[in-house]
């Protein structure tokens, strides 16, 4: 197979070489437990705290507001369950229809009757055809029974950004807790929690060039908190379990690099994404963009190719070493296309043929040109095989 062209960074990202180097000493020699009294163990605690400072700097937070976890899902679960535990009299959860399964499936489960607890009232807010949340509808959903508001910062499939500042301000006005799944946003858009009204924020290491198996939860100082993993005194009694020192050090290094690369994400990566998107929309007939063209992450584009099926596109791209994702039913193992595209009202003719490209600072203009050469003929080929779309595409010309 030819060289890999990796355009699936919203799924996971390459571990930065600097991150590997930073981690290696803690895998080889410095294996001590940061809780130990002896110098050998205790010395690594300093590196854990350094990582905490680097991550806090990326978020505009105070280091004491960072809890290291094992992944984004753990961070989301911890935040939502903590809010429910701290406000047991409140029985309402507000979220959206387009959340990542880490939030969506938990909220849907909370809405089910489970022996031993009454079902929560769960409001899943809709989005418009461009994937945007309506603030009026959001405001109307809040009430005094609301225990937690959980709205993602950026959507993983379309890259659409949610108005976290406005959402947070509305929550503050009513004294409600606001949690955001920022797994896709951290490192791609500027975040300054000192100024932004967010109470809890979840992030994941492997989306920003750290390894899999490490995440973090930001909890604003003064926010009521109940731990999810109970155990030792680690993380200031907020998350039991011996710290994964190498992974935490890796996440700290990745945060440092992300802060340095943030401008590049906004300029160079955005330009590559735009070049790819414009090229595909121009070269492939029946191609359409999913998601708002402006209110988006700089690295993500989600394009539907009508009348062809996403898995077939991905496997043909795979022949060229090009890695992307699809919201098609067949790629997920389920039989229905992406819940995000369906919530946006994308027609089935287009939802099945959706392809998501998500870039990183490691992508090059040459790679983008290769995709622009290779993909349009693939779409034409699959259209020839497909029984649909001939009349429609001819009529559109």
């Amino acid at each position: 197979m030819s060289k890999i062209i990796y355009l699936d960074n919203n799924a996971t990202s390459a571990v930065a070489p600097e991150v590997v180097d930073a981690m290696t000493p803690f895998l080889r020699d410095l294996y001590g437990n940061p809780s130990s009294i002896h110098t050998f163990g205790g010395q690594v605690a300093r590196h854990v705290e350094q990582a905490r400072e680097s991550l806090a700097a990326l978020l505009g937070a105070d280091p004491t507001e960072i809890i290291f976890t094992s992944c984004g899902t753990e961070s989301d679960s911890t935040a939502i369950r903590s809010a429910l535990a701290c406000y047991p009299d409140r029985r309402h959860v507000v979220t959206t229809r387009v959340e990542h399964p880490a939030v969506r499936n938990l909220c849907q489960w909370l809405g089910q009757p489970v022996p031993g607890r009454a079902p929560y009232r769960v409001t899943e807010l809709p989005v418009d055809s461009q994937g945007m949340l309506g603030l009026d509808e959001f405001k109307a959903a809040l009430d005094d029974d609301t225990a937690i508001v959980s709205v993602m910062w950026a959507n993983n499939e379309t890259g659409v950004l949610f108005p976290v500042d406005e959402i947070g301000a509305l929550c503050r006005e009513r004294g409600l807790l606001f949690h955001t799944d920022a797994v896709q946003a951290v490192g791609k858009v500027p975040i300054n929690l000192a100024k932004q009204p967010v109470d809890m924020l979840a992030l994941s290491g492997h989306k920003l060039h750290a390894p899999k198996g490490v995440g973090a939860l930001y909890v604003r100082r003064g926010t009521r908190f109940a731990p999810y993993l109970m155990g030792g005194h680690q993380e200031n009694n907020r998350r039991g379990g011996t710290e994964s020192v190498p992974l935490i050090v890796g996440l700290g290094k990745a945060a440092e690099l992300a802060l340095r690369n943030l401008k590049q994400e906004q300029t160079r990566v955005r330009a590559l994404r735009d070049r790819l998107e414009k090229g595909l929309l121009a070269k492939a007939p029946g191609a359409r963009l999913n998601g708002h063209p402006d209110h988006r992450l700089p690295n993500t584009t989600n394009v539907s190719f009508e009348y062809v099926e996403g898995e077939a596109i991905l496997l043909m791209l795979d022949q060229y070493g090009i890695c992307a994702s699809s919201g098609s039913a067949c790629t997920t193992g389920s039989l229905e296309p992406s819940h995000v595209l369906r919530a946006m009202g994308v027609p089935f003719t287009a939802a099945h043929g959706s392809v998501r490209f998500s870039l990183s600072v490691y992508n090059t203009p040459e790679e983008i040109e290769t995709v622009l050469e290779v993909l349009p003929p693939i779409i034409r080929r699959l259209r020839e095989i497909s029984p649909f779309g001939r009349e429609q595409l001819a009529a559109a010309k």
Binding site: V308, G310, E311, A312, S328, L335, I385
Partner: protein
């Protein structure tokens, strides 16, 4: 990533039989774009009802395209009667097997062939026109589900979904599919039954016990100058320590059994056993 055989990949990447036949003798389409896959089969016959040429057009994933191509390879040169005997198993076998969750692609091939034959012979296409639609998401009839359950010896809803897609959408028809499976295998339809609630977790039990002690038991004891503290909960064994008057009271054992255990059995769990471990604590 699906685990496709080399044969599937080959027929997906380089299908030999795509295209259209002008004025075909047989022409049938199954599936639709909403469901995510559809197959149009076109056949040209020679004078003796033998398949001289056949082509397909398919909207769908790799295994749908490969199954379509395999179907054509299998029917070419055969008489219609010979072709009629081809099953979805033949298609899957030709491809060296399909992932379990993709078996419905081979069933789609079989359906297209059956529909084309039925139309050509002016017979009703039983799988589509007869019977009731069970799965409304994917428009699958009880006839098709019955046929596949019988031929493939399927026993679970999940297997039926793999082969027909039925039940793979809103899941609203799972009970009906279970009933069809039961009928085919000669069992009475399973009666819907309420599941008993799962046992409380230890944490839930501890919380509940604390609530009952605080709300129901302690006020009573405190009125007499006594008190009780929860020391530990180990499954259904609840260890408490009596304080104040109760700790020295010669009838505390009676108090214990009478008030605390009865209340906890009534309000938390009928199998709870209360133990007094106060002595050890006061001495230690």
């Amino acid at each position: 990533m699906w685990d496709y055989t080399e044969k599937v990949k080959q027929h997906f990447l380089h299908p030999k039989n795509t295209g259209e036949i002008p004025k075909p003798d047989l022409d049938a389409t199954v599936g639709n774009i909403t469901c995510g896959d559809a197959l149009r089969l076109m056949v040209r016959l020679d004078g003796a009802d033998r398949i001289a040429d056949a082509k397909f057009q398919t909207f769908g994933c790799a295994s749908a395209i490969a199954s379509s191509d395999a179907l054509i390879e299998l029917i070419k040169g055969k008489t219609l009667d010979e072709a009629a005997g081809i099953t979805n198993d033949d298609i899957a076998a030709y491809l060296g097997g399909l992932p379990e969750a993709k078996m419905h692609c081979s069933v789609m091939g079989m359906e297209a062939l059956q529909k084309a034959l039925a139309q050509y012979r002016h017979q009703p296409f039983a799988l589509e026109t007869e019977g009731q639609v069970v799965c409304k998401c994917f428009g699958v009839t009880d006839k098709l589900i019955d046929k596949v359950v019988r031929e493939q010896h399927l026993h679970t809803v999940e297997e039926v979904t793999h082969f027909t897609k039925a039940g793979g959408g809103c899941r609203g028809c799972h009970r009906e599919i279970e009933a069809i499976i039961a009928k085919v295998h000669g069992q009475p339809a399973p009666a819907p039954q309420a599941k008993p609630p799962p046992p409380m977790t230890n944490l839930q039990r501890i919380n509940r016990i604390q609530e009952v002690l605080a709300g129901e038991v302690r006020p009573l004891l405190q009125a007499d100058g006594g008190d009780v503290e929860l020391v530990d909960v180990d499954g259904k064994r609840v260890q408490v320590a009596f304080r104040g008057h109760c700790a020295w009271c010669p009838v505390s054992d009676v108090t214990l059994k009478g008030a605390v255990q009865a209340k906890l059995r009534e309000l938390v769990d009928p199998e709870i056993v209360v133990e007094d471990v106060g002595e050890h604590l006061t001495n230690g």
